[in-house]
Homo-oligomer: 117 residues x 2
DNA sequence: TAAACGATTGAGCAACTATTCAATTAAGGA
DNA sequence: TCCTTAATTGAATAGTTGCTCAATCGTTTA
């Protein structure tokens, strides 16, 4: 991390200034990336899509995705930590729901777009 | 990958059937996850956000994000590969633009939501 | 109370990823 | 032509991640 060429060489100073002025705060962009990263995994996308259709317990999700309940549980923990899913206990069984309608619309919008390609 | 408990134990058979029937095709969900994964990195989100404001060359992006142009170039390659950015050459300088308006609105919508939290 | 079962958790591992570093390409200017 | 510079590329590396496996927790029921 010494002075790299391109930390000095600047070609369009005004544009950089403009971008810098209009860019959202860094922590906001990092937050954003965190959320996208969470959606950026096939298993988690499938879980979210399934929960968008109906409430399911860990075991059902495991059966649906043909994975171990351990693997599912690990992923649900991440989704829980970001408040994307919520759960309710019914005895031994834990049912999961989507808790973030925004994420749901995000997935819907993206799916529509993906389907167009 | 033998017969795991939860590949057999099913609690809500009808719900699983319903989810299975309504779930989008697997390859579509995987595509979706690929796109989200690409957005799920701070550097790439910053690049996209900057390009949403103004056209910039590799060097400018490097200066703006305080990173080496090599690191930026590597990330641009990934974004290019998915058709999210396009470029035009002006002599030695390569200018990058957003090429996917959908991704742009995706980021905008998400930013608005992130800002609300 | 003990056994059974759904779910969670932590350690470990293999696969992946973002950056660095060095080498190379392509274009411009001396 | 040679030198400089913007950009790209490949290899190497440090850090991350998703799954497995085994152990454990909490609840039900025999």
């Amino acid at each position: 991390m010494t002075e790299d060429t391109c930390l000095i060489t600047v070609i369009n100073e005004e544009r950089i200034a403009q971008a810098r002025a209009q860019m959202p705060e860094e922590h906001l962009l990092i937050e954003l990336a965190e959320t996208f990263k969470l959606l950026g995994d096939p298993t988690r996308v499938k879980i979210l899509q399934a929960l968008a259709i109906t409430e399911l317990c860990v075991c059902d999700l495991a059966a649906l995705l043909e994975m171990t309940s351990s693997a599912i549980s690990h992923q649900l923990r991440l989704l829980r930590a970001r408040g994307i899913v919520r759960f309710r206990k019914a005895g031994k069984v834990v049912y999961y729901n989507l808790d973030d309608s925004h994420v749901q619309t995000l997935v819907e919008v993206s799916l529509r777009h993906a389907a167009e390609c």
